[in-house]
Amino acid sequence: MKTLLVIKANTFDWLQAVFPDRSPLLASVCNKPLLEYLLDFAILCGSRHFRLATDMPLAKVEAVFGGGGRWGIELTYAPIRKTDDLATALQKNSRYCAGSRLLVMQGCFFLHYDKQKNYGPFMQTTAPGELLTCATGRILIHDATPLKTAPSPDGSPPPLALTSLRSIGELYRLSMRVLGRDARQYVLPGYNNETDVYIGRNVMIARSARIEPPVMIGDHVQIHKNAIVGPGAVIGRNVIIDAYSRIHHSVILDKTYVGEHLVLDRKLAGGRRLVDPGEETMVQLEDAHLLSTMRPSSRGRNRLQRLGHGLLAALLWVVLAMPYALLSFILKRQGRWRRSEAAYWVDSSGRSVRLTRVFLNPSGFCGRIAASLALDRYPLLGRVMRGDLALIGTRRLPATAANRAVIEADAGYRPGLFSYAEAEHWPVPEYDQDIVDRFHLAHQTLIYDFVMMVKVLLNKLHEETALCKSISK
């Protein structure tokens, strides 16, 4: 048995209208992409091949799903055109479709099934033709060869139903239904030690925060003091719920910052957008401290701050001068110290400066010491003293047009010699660090920066010793 999913961009117009920057093919219910539910179902049906035929860009989907190896199936992709109907899509995949029973899914819908049931026999003995249909999609069985065995009359078929997806409201209600009622029917992401509580990896929950089931929390989430999450909360990946905020019966999409003292009740929020799924109204907030993106805080760049950072930098400059002179000299001779220059944006107004980058090879005794003292950043201390960079701040972005656009859109940019994410030892890809950086930027004070700076330096020391241990093993 094979499965072919035919899904076109226009079936997601409703989602694009509200969240134009999010890939519709990765739209998820309870932190699990719709597509993954379909993959799971296909596997339950005994399908070992799954093909996605679509007119939408696939790069992001491919980055997540790859070749299907993680699910133990072969997942392939086929581009079709906007105007292609189902017959054309089948013809374009005729080689794939030939020679086997084929489960065809067409459109944008949610498929209700039960992971405990065995769908294999049912799928093999059901007569070809349309199986289920809803307003926005259908599933059918194609088979060129007649049935080998007659359909078994007895035994009720396993549960199977479609829900159409035409609006944010429907997507929201589906999330609430799966979380509150149907969770056991699906394989949901996260650890599940307690009934109705699913928690992802690297989740920080303050002691005074409260979690009220049913709740689902994605990976890399921070929930700060006195926040209340649940009942009925689906929190995506890379989300920060700041102090005293409450999330009830709501969905928070990936990469969202929820500020302090806010209440989200029966809402859906993603980035700066806040949606009331009942009324289907949407507002885009401009206040950084409310949702997601932060503006450069006026206190972030004031003179006192700069002076403080400059003085700290000067202190480091003096303390590290000897080790720097000695080690950089040795490492240069060993060919383990190379420097280059590149332009970076230094503030959100579009000013850029050329900064020295040092590539330090941390192998060998001297290399390890140099890396643990972060000597590769030493040449940039002068920039901190001059006020071009903060000692600790957000990740430095190279001066490219694309990054300029990023800085302008998400204005919480204060490039640092070190980034806050380094203090947190944030184990996620670069682009996810940004939200952590921005969080700290909103909370920073001079003392706070000093503490974070110490953390970074300790991390550097620890990282190197950990690396040595893993090498010596």
């Binding site: 003292h261 806010l262 209440v263 809402k267 009324e279 109204t281 507002v283 401290h289 949702l291």
Partner: protein, 116 residues
């Protein structure tokens, strides 16, 4: 953002039509005009029919106005708040401080009812 004073049998009520955006750019102006009016009356209707957007400084100004009105035993009633503007009130819990009416006439009438 004009405050108009309507004289009613039970005393004057000020109506302010908020339109477009209320944000950092004009929230101070709102507060100043409000305070000028406060000398005449402590009962206000903010007609938000044409209000498209409010940010936190705008919201802050409206809440400050409310506190001042309440301090003199008055009130501010909001009329015709669009759903998307109301979302911001809900998010920040400012919603609990205000009474909302579908249009300015009802908001005005509510003061009269109360009086009777």
């Amino acid at each position: 953002m004009e405050f108009q004073i309507q004289t009613r049998t039970d005393g004057p009520i000020a109506i302010a039509a908020l339109s477009g955006r209320v944000d950092a750019a004009n929230s101070r102006q709102l507060r100043r005009q409000f305070e000028r009016c406060l000398k005449t009356t402590n009962r206000f209707v903010f007609d938000c029919q044409a209000l498209d957007f409010i940010d936190s400084s705008g919201l802050g100004a409206v809440v400050t106005c409310l506190r001042k009105a309440l301090a003199t035993a008055g009130d501010i009633r909001l009329a015709g708040v669009a759903p998307k503007v109301k979302l911001v009130f809900e998010l920040t819990q400012a919603e609990k401080l205000f009474t909302f009416f579908s249009d300015a006439d009802q908001a005005l009438a509510s003061f009269a009812d109360q009086h009777a």
